[in-house]
């Protein structure tokens, strides 16, 4: 009965290395079973601590950090190709697209032939912009931009482009990142920096000068004189 009373105190005593309470010490002096139980409990906890330390300090496999470095590089490459975007970004992009399309749909219906004139504007602007592009062009869109079809929203974009001091080019959407990377790499080469950043000076236009024409004076003859002249020739023959 006395042992049952001290059972909880024995567990607490085994858990801590503090001094034992007086009544427990007195009981342990007289009870060999509880003394043995306390020793067993302390050994058990020592074994638990030892097992925990062994498990918690396991040697780290040498392949862990190199594998993580590799995956980090892959992660960076993936995020460069497809920048991380959350759902709100998709929503914002969709909303912007809808807002951009609403005013553009109406004039397109009203004047289908307007697309032709916008194409001409696009061609002119593309020619202007392509002057500032480094010569080894990475995109097929830059090689024959004139042959591309332009959508009505191009008019807005081109109008904005005309006001912008930066050179701009037309590229397919999926080639934008590639173009940016190409420009980044091209600009690191000194010879190309000049080409990319300093557009070639336009040739000075001189006023058109037209030389005066030297036109010989007409030899005017009356019809009567011509008739007489014809008659003379006839008589001679």
């Amino acid at each position: 009965m006395s042992c049952e009373r001290h059972k909880k105190a024995l567990i607490d005593a085994a858990l801590s290395n503090d001094l034992l309470p007086l009544d427990l010490r007195a009981h342990l002096d007289s009870c060999g079973t509880c003394r043995a139980a306390l020793d067993e409990g302390r050994r058990l906890l020592a074994a638990i601590d030892s097992g925990l330390r062994a498990a918690a300090n396991a040697p780290v496999p040498p392949s862990l950090l190199p594998a993580v470095h590799l995956r980090l590089a892959q992660e960076d490459a993936t995020s460069a190709k497809c920048p991380p975007s959350s759902s709100w970004m998709y929503l914002a992009a969709a909303a912007a697209l809808i807002l951009a399309l609403i005013p553009l749909l109406r004039p397109r219906r009203a004047n289908e032939t307007g697309a032709q004139s916008s194409t001409q504007v696009a061609e002119q602007s593309t020619e202007r912009a392509s002057v500032a592009i480094p010569q080894p062009q990475p995109s097929s869109a830059l090689e024959h931009p004139v042959n591309r079809r332009f959508y009505p929203q191009s008019r807005l974009i081109l109008a904005r482009a005309a006001q912008s001091p930066q050179p701009e080019v037309l590229v397919p959407p999926e080639e934008r990142v590639a173009l940016a990377r190409y420009i980044a790499s091209a600009s690191q080469r000194k010879s190309w920096v000049t080409v990319a950043r300093i557009p070639p000076a336009e040739p000075a236009t001189q006023p058109l000068t037209i030389e005066p024409l030297n036109i010989a004076a007409l030899n005017e003859q009356s019809l009567e004189e011509l008739d007489r002249h014809r008659d003379r020739e006839t008589q001679i023959r």
Binding site: S16, A47, A55, V68, A196
Partner: protein
């Protein structure tokens, strides 16, 4: 027919440069911490999973997740505790998936009599029982127990890592050890009976 978009190469390139520079800076900072805290992510996972291959998988995943969200961590001094919690949660998820539960159950049911506790710590059987008892602890208790056993962390260090009071760490440690002792004592007593 192909749709074209108008871009400014120079401004796009500048954005690209800025983005790449920011990525490189983040990567450098992360890698500095990786060398210091990477092993801890593994050990936490190993402490939960008791399996080297699984622990390596989980540690890798934890480190990659930490890298993805590294920008969201405002106080970088809390990186260690943050990484520990990520690794611990992932390891718990892996355990809960139950892929290797059957194997552990089999190991648990294989009991052989042991006369004393002296050689318990060295025995694989005791380790298996300890694993099982650990698994039955609540996650809070288990994490504190593992961190305290790891690399000789003091209770203050554990408290700092987990951002909880030192007293809470002490009480959780005491409770966890008590529960483990009770679980394992029953087993030892049972195996000692003839």
């Amino acid at each position: 027919m192909q749709e074209l978009v108008l871009v400014q190469p120079s401004s796009a390139a500048e954005r690209e440069w800025a983005k790449e520079a920011a990525t490189a800076a983040t990567r450098r900072e992360f890698e500095e911490r990786l060398a210091e805290c990477g092993p801890q992510a593994y050990r936490i996972a190993r402490g939960v999973l008791r399996n080297d291959a699984d622990a390596e998988d989980v540690a890798q995943e934890a480190l990659i997740r930490a890298y993805r969200r590294f920008d969201q961590l405002r106080d970088r001094d809390r990186f260690r505790g943050w990484l520990v919690r990520i690794s611990f949660r992932l390891a718990l998820d892996r355990v809960r998936s139950g892929k290797r539960r059957e194997q552990r159950e089999t190991l648990w049911s294989q009991t052989s009599p042991r006369a004393t506790t002296e050689d318990l710590a060295a025995s694989s059987e005791f380790q298996a029982h300890l694993d099982r008892a650990l698994e039955e602890l609540s996650p809070k208790l288990r994490l504190v127990l593992l961190l305290a056993a790891m690399e000789g962390h003091t209770t203050e260090e554990v408290a700092q890592m987990l951002a909880i009071p030192t007293g809470t760490v002490k009480s959780r440690l005491s409770l966890a050890r008590k529960q483990l002792a009770e679980k394992l004592r029953c087993h030892v007593n049972a195996t000692k009976k003839p």
